[in-house]
Amino acid sequence: MRPMRIPPVLSYVLRRVAISIVVLIGISAVAFSMAYLLPSDPVTSRYPDISNEQRAEMRRQMGLDQPLIVQYARYMESVFRGEFGRSLGTGNSVGEDLARRIPATLELAVYGILLGTALAIPLGMFAAIRRGRPTDHVLRLVNIAIQSVPAFWLGVVLIFVVFYQLRWAPTPVGRLSPLYSPPPFFTGFYTLDGLLSGKFDVALAAGRQLILPVLVLGLGVVSPLARITRAAMGESLGEDYVTFGRALGLRERQVVLGDAFRGALIPIVTTFGFVVGNVLAGAAIVETVFSWPGIGRYAVTAITTSDMAPVSTCILLVASGVALTNLLVDLSYALIDPRIRHGYGK
């Protein structure tokens, strides 16, 4: 009898999934211990005026006297039940708070990543094609300049210039001016929901509200993405298959976009885990500057007020998002490169 053979694609996928699970467990452990680092005691913060005996009793009831590993196991159990504890700041369960805030951050992050990618990839490709020539040097300078402007300051400058001076932007507070009521929930994206429900004025208002924060968030990822695109394209443009494609009289478009870009795609998508992490971390700053009701601002507020449950949940959420993106990135390798799909190399 022949031993069962696992197709290379499947074994590749299974291995990646297994690695991600290990990473996720590690992430949850770190997120759990993060919360314990904060200088606050859940009992003292909830019941400030109780005696030491009462406090010890409360701690026992809440399981805080158990060994850390037991506490971690309980924590994980409740995470799987979808219970993340209660926020002392808002008084709601963290799950509820997040459900309301996640769409706001996602809308910001998705548009930000789209904008950043749409700017960075052509920029990097163009620099690679013009490598070593004046265009390349100018683009390099632009790239370094973009990288050197901190998001929080850029946000402040944009608010001052575009809102206070030019009066082009709407009041930079929140997702939607109070003149409009939010559209019915389909996707959680106000712009899309506005369009889907036929409330075009709401979609437009939400879009105008998004412009500045999305710009700040998007510019934040341009530099690393453009840098890697330039380097990867520079390498793949020198590959024999690119020269041979040209030698066969294929159009330059076909050679550059079809072969060279595809050859450069793996290093480019590899940075996406990093890009997503950057955007989600950047959201904490951008949301603070633009008073955006998302998880970034929620986390910042929770951290500054030592509100344990939201802190560990937000950190867990963002890190899991990055880990899942990394998994998707790994899986996309198999789509991009048939050599990986067939179990050759890399």
Binding site: V30, P39, S148
Partner: protein, 305 residues
Amino acid sequence: MAMASEIGVAGEPMTAAAKLPASRDSSWRRIYARVFAGDPLGLAGVVILAVLLLVAAFGPLLATHDPILTTPDTLLPPSGAHWFGTDDFGRDVFSRTLVSLRIDFIVASVGVTGAILIGSLIGLVCGYRGGWLDDTLMRFVDIIQSFPLILVAMVLVLAIGPSVGSIVIVTVLINIPLYARVIRGQTLAVKHLDYVDAARCSGATELGIMFRHVLPNTLNPIAIHASLNLAAAVGNVAVLSFLGIGIRPPTPDLGVMVAEGTKFLVQGAWWMSICPGLILCTTIFSLNLLGDALESGLDPRRQDR
């Protein structure tokens, strides 16, 4: 045995490993001279950075006013007397910016130096020894790197207790993984090169090989990453204080100044936020220019292109 001209970046194996430059001093000087001679942008970065460092070092002497003295001249726009205007307490924004620059530089560079020392040691040992130690530490690095560093930094600062010292410690902690990874890759790339084997055959101890033969090869990648990382660290210190964590008023800090200034934008007092921010951008910009020049100049794969 200096191998300054043979160094690749982060895990890239190198060719022509057997060539030895005449002496370390002359080759280092030659390489850095070439990096900046051929690169006006890199040179510009060095010049701007040097000016900023001088300003930071002699800040208190250059300050035109007392940076923490409150006066009745509140919210004055920039003028000959107050180059960056005054803030809501009538303090001179320019003088405050000079003093802040010094604190931010010290915090960022002490933090990055600490991260380099500890991270390099971890990377060197992991790469050189390999095995379970390497596997475990590198998985841990993977996990750490999927966390949103700003949020982690905020939690850590609060856990240690907000102060300038804790920001330094946190800067060290969050940057250790970067150097551990870079140096590990570099160590893996050189540890089996002929000259290392030769040293081993001639009876050098493992510790001696690690520090005398492997470590010098990691200096160029460290130089590249350190300048880019320093730029990021200056930005992060400012972000933390902007978000109200870490350096707190009345100690002047660029992030704090930008944050405080936002309250007065509505009155048109833009200089409180924008002027210190411009200096912050210039600082980060010069470090990034420097890092980019080092990166393109020191990477052997790029030289012939």
